[in-house]
Amino acid sequence: MTLSQQGQVLIHAPFGRDAELIQRVLAHAQIGSEICATLPELEAALDRADAAILGDEALQAKPVVETLAARLSQQPPWSDIPLLMMTSGGTETGSSRQRLQLIAPLGNVMLLERPLRIPTLVSAVKGALRARQHQYQIRDLLVQRERDVHAIELSNEELRRLNAELQQFAYSASHDLREPLRVISLYCEVIKKQFGGQLGPAGDQFIKYMVESVRRMEQLLTDLLNYTRSTAVGEDPAALVDANIPLQRALTNLGPDIEQSGITIATDAMPQVRVHEFHLEQLFQNLIGNAIKYRSPKNPTADIRVKQEGDFWLFSIADNGIGIDPQYADIIFGLFKRLHQKEEYSGTGIGLAICKRIVERYGGRIWVDSDLGKGAIFYFTLPH
């Protein structure tokens, strides 16, 4: 059904010249109308256009009430066609209350008792048209909303697909890029074995540079793959995760470094959080790894603490290491950001960027409180 914004007032006053008179009065007030002398005509007009129905007692007849009620019950939820019914005043055909009961199935009805003055009729019709206009506006908003929802669903679907594609791409890229490096690495060793010492005084050093660069590239690829994994949108874990498990795994992974550095590590009992184990492991491993890497030369320590703060768990990893100049406290969380030459401290500059992405993915924050030579405390929050 095509609905006209203006709509027509459908006049159903089958007896005498009432209909023509009303049409003329409405036309004078710039209101368009259509006369429907019979019920089939009224029904046909309802299919084409509708704004309001204006009728006389004929609307009270049982077949008319039944037919119209059936039609009007099929209106969409936003639509409620106003019906204006002119009735004879006085008591000869019963009270207005009885009439209202008769025509109640028609819904949105207004009674206009005769004798009817023209301004009353015009203002009642105008009021009904305004109400109908608002219904159309609601319809338009609903249509627009439906379109928007559909568009959002489409773009969500597209995002999911792109994300899956990106994951696949990152995996293939990090694997396929690593493959030639593997061969370079192996043949650096073959050259060193077969020709070591025969390449002049600098030759061995050159091979060493090559081997170091290959190792670094391999580390970069591993870290980049972890970075893309940490930023993937994926589902949140359904169950709570015991944070002690990924913490212990991170400590196991760091085992050789912990032993070699002689660092003393103290940990609180960890809470249950709704965060992927893989993400927690990454967080702990990167932050504790940094505490080890930038440790104090004497009696290095790392304290891993957690406490409740409002709706969040506040984790902290405090060390007594070399510390960070406060002016760099923000940039260290950027991708590929490093404060040291690689001869001083190795690293790819991806670790803290991974931590930031993971924490923010869960709506938490990460920051550092530090000063040069005074150790560093890294804080991060995760929701309960």
């Binding site: 694997h175 493959e179 593997r182 690495s185 192996l186 043949y187 060793e189 073959v190 391999e218």
Partner: protein
């Protein structure tokens, strides 16, 4: 005494050279038949089926090959029925879980992940030696 035959299906000459070295280091004496893409590996199987080749005692198979994949070739071994007692060592740089699962599921003898250190790489010679001896033992026992 005739030397045992080993098929090596591998496209990367850098890896072929290292595998030859590894076999040499571990004293594996064998005739090495090398094919460098999936299609010529298929042809090699055809030659065996028409008695133009002797049956290998062991097969070293790369997964990522031009024209036909290592997976397809392995499937072809199965269909042929002539390779039921031949150990197959898959060599691959892939650490994709799907490849590992496939290898376990299909029942390959060993999955050797190509390493990036020379010392580790040489261990494939040790593995091949072990499989050749074991398999020979089984044949005598059986």
């Amino acid at each position: 005494m005739q030397l045992p035959t080993i098929w090596l299906i591998e496209d990367n000459p850098a890896d072929i050279f290292l595998i030859e070295q590894a076999l040499g280091v571990h004293g594996v004496a064998a005739d090495l038949v090398v094919r460098r893409d999936g299609q010529s590996a298929f042809e090699l199987i055809g030659e065996l089926e028409t008695q133009q080749q002797v049956c290998p005692r062991l097969i070293i198979l790369d997964l990522n090959l031009p024209k036909r994949s290592g997976q397809e070739i392995f499937q072809r071994f199965r269909v042929s029925g002539q390779f039921n007692d031949v150990p197959v060592v898959i060599v691959s740089s892939s650490d994709a879980p799907s490849d590992q699962r496939w290898a376990v599921h299909i029942g390959v003898t060993r999955f050797f992940r190509k390493p990036s250190s020379l010392e580790e790489f040489m261990k494939i010679g040790e593995l091949v030696n072990h499989l050749l001896l074991n398999n020979g033992q089984q044949e005598r026992d059986g």
